[in-house]
């Protein structure tokens, strides 16, 4: 089994703050002052109400598994997932440090950051509590 290689994220002017925060272990989410809702993925226009009055908030890092799928034929295999954040929106991510056969939709998970070859920190999630193995 080979070591996982990640495609680098290529931050933009719209998203640099997110990736800077990730380097410091912070999961930043775009939240709208006009409608009060957080959205995913981060952008400078609120996709829910079109306001430009947005702020970065630090998410709790808590979420639950919305769905997942184990990429069995990848080398190494990995767990693609959607996680619904405690702040509301659902984000695409991976589940790591978990037994792929024990994951269930609805499992509580918490963010952790995985570093790429170029030093980007990708927000991924691990189970909280019993499935940790």
């Amino acid at each position: 089994m080979s070591e996982r290689k990640y495609i680098e994220p290529q931050p933009s002017a719209e998203t640099q703050a997110f990736w800077d925060g990730a380097k410091h272990g912070k999961l930043l989410v775009r939240s709208c002052r006009a409608c009060g809702k957080a959205h995913w993925y981060p952008r400078n226009h609120c996709p829910l109400c079109s306001s430009r009055d947005l702020q970065w908030i630090e998410a709790s890092g808590d979420g639950e598994v919305y769905s997942y799928s184990v990429m069995r034929r990848a080398d190494p295999p990995y767990v693609m997932a959607y996680v619904t954040l405690a702040e509301g929106p659902t984000m695409m991510t991976n589940l790591v440090d978990c037994n792929a056969d024990h994951i269930r939709i609805g499992d509580k998970v918490h963010v952790r950051f995985i570093e790429t070859a170029d030093g980007a920190h990708l927000p991924m999630f691990s189970p909280k509590g019993k499935h940790n193995d």
């Binding site: 994220p9 995913w40 993925y41 829910l48 997942y68 184990v70 693609m80 695409m92 991976n94």
Partner: protein, 389 residues
């Protein structure tokens, strides 16, 4: 019945090849264009509207219009991946009604086998300028795992099983055995499907479509021209389209765009799912079919698993014969884009020209649906309703 026609499909042609190592893309485009024109009883010089996807090499329609020497007054290169060609027929009907063209050619070609993409992960060629790129590509997003997550969540919400999904492949394989051009004609059992290797949980190898080269084309025209030709009349009476995506992070991946495109098309046509005698449903994966059955209204949300069991999709056995050519699961999914072949088999059924073993009796009303892009993240559904006149 005298429902108003949007337009008529007067020519349909499926390229016989499944491996086009010896043909260029341009040659395939010409093969399918001329094949559909011949089927209609028309000539290249008659075409004044051209609809193609990004599979046509060159800038939009320009290189192929040049190669074929078409003299055009209307072009459309809408790209919603595999569903593009259903949208093209709808857009062609609209253009014809608006007087922008009289005889529209719609083409699809592809040669993923010849180009060596027949094996591997079917990784998309994504552009970092896409706003979603940095939020998806680093995590290993691929076509397979998007459909895998969709199936996983459907199973979680509704208790759908792998055996139920397998019935969709089984039905397609029963049809494909009669199609001498089908990529695979092997009749499968539920056990064979669920015992094939898992490629991406919960999808097995036999839940996935085939990878083939080739393509197809259709000709769309206005009533006066259609009635002057010698082919059975296939009327387009309804169409709908719907791009569906992540909605700012608040979405339900087990509902496809077909929930919208189908409703629009049925209202447009003035018919209901219960009236449909035959359905061509996009079958990139078995789960794709299941979602369309529910979202188009052939059964209630969550009941797709029970609906497909016991051969309910097999012609002559079940209530809703689907993909009687063997579909993308067995027959042909040219260029990883299954929309064109969905239209073509629906036209064959309406004309009474499907294989006798799978021809639906008195097939006067058919539906064709496409899901292009990826379920589970971004896709577009296109629906057409066809009627015999």
């Amino acid at each position: 019945m005298a429902r108003p026609a949007l337009a008529y499909i007067v020519g349909a042609y499926e390229h016989p090849t499944r491996d086009a190592g010896d043909k260029t893309m341009a040659e395939l485009q010409a093969d399918v264009a001329l094949g559909a024109l011949e089927d209609a009883g028309l000539n290249r010089e008659d075409v004044d509207g051209f609809f193609c996807g990004p599979d046509a090499p060159g800038t939009g329609p320009l290189s192929i219009a040049d190669y074929l020497n078409l003299n055009l007054r209307h072009v459309d290169t809408t790209n919603t991946s595999g569903s593009s060609y259903l949208l093209h027929v709808s857009h062609a009907a609209q253009a014809i009604q608006a007087g922008k063209c009289d005889i529209a050619l719609v083409t699809l070609t592809g040669r993923p086998r010849a180009e060596g993409r027949g094996k591997g992960g079917l990784v998309r060629a994504d552009n970092p300028q896409q706003p979603d790129y940095q939020w998806e590509q680093p995590f290993g997003m691929q076509i397979l795992n998007m459909y895998g997550m969709t199936a996983m969540r459907h199973m979680h919400l509704y208790g759908t099983t792998s055996e139920q999904l397998a019935w969709i492949k089984v039905a397609a394989s029963h049809h494909a055995q009669h199609n001498e051009r089908a990529f695979t004609r092997k009749v499968h059992t539920v056990e064979e499907v669920v015992n094939s290797p898992i490629v991406c949980d919960p999808l097995h190898r036999l839940d996935c479509c085939v990878v083939t080269d080739g393509g197809g084309a259709v000709i769309v025209t206005r009533p006066e021209i259609a009635k002057s030709l010698k082919r059975p009349l296939v009327k387009v009476i309804g169409s709908g389209e719907r791009p569906q995506h992540q909605q700012g992070g608040y979405f339900e991946i087990t509902t496809s765009g077909a929930a919208w495109s189908g409703k629009i098309a049925f209202e447009h046509a003035g018919v209901t799912p219960a009236d449909i005698k035959y359905a061509s449903l996009y079958d990139s994966f078995t789960i794709t079919v299941l979602l369309q059955l529910e979202d188009l209204g052939f059964c209630k949300k969550g009941e797709g698993g029970r609906f497909v069991m016991d051969g309910n999709l097999i012609s002559g056995i079940g209530k809703l014969p689907f993909n009687t050519d063997g579909g993308g699961l067995c027959n042909n999914h040219p260029g990883n884009r299954g929309g064109m072949t969905k239209i073509i088999e629906a036209v064959r059924q309406i004309r009474g020209e499907a294989h006798p073993a799978v021809q639906v009796k008195n097939c006067d009303l058919a539906l064709a649906n496409g899901i292009g892009g990826q379920l589970g993240v971004r896709h577009a559904s296109g629906t057409l309703i066809l009627e015999r006149e």
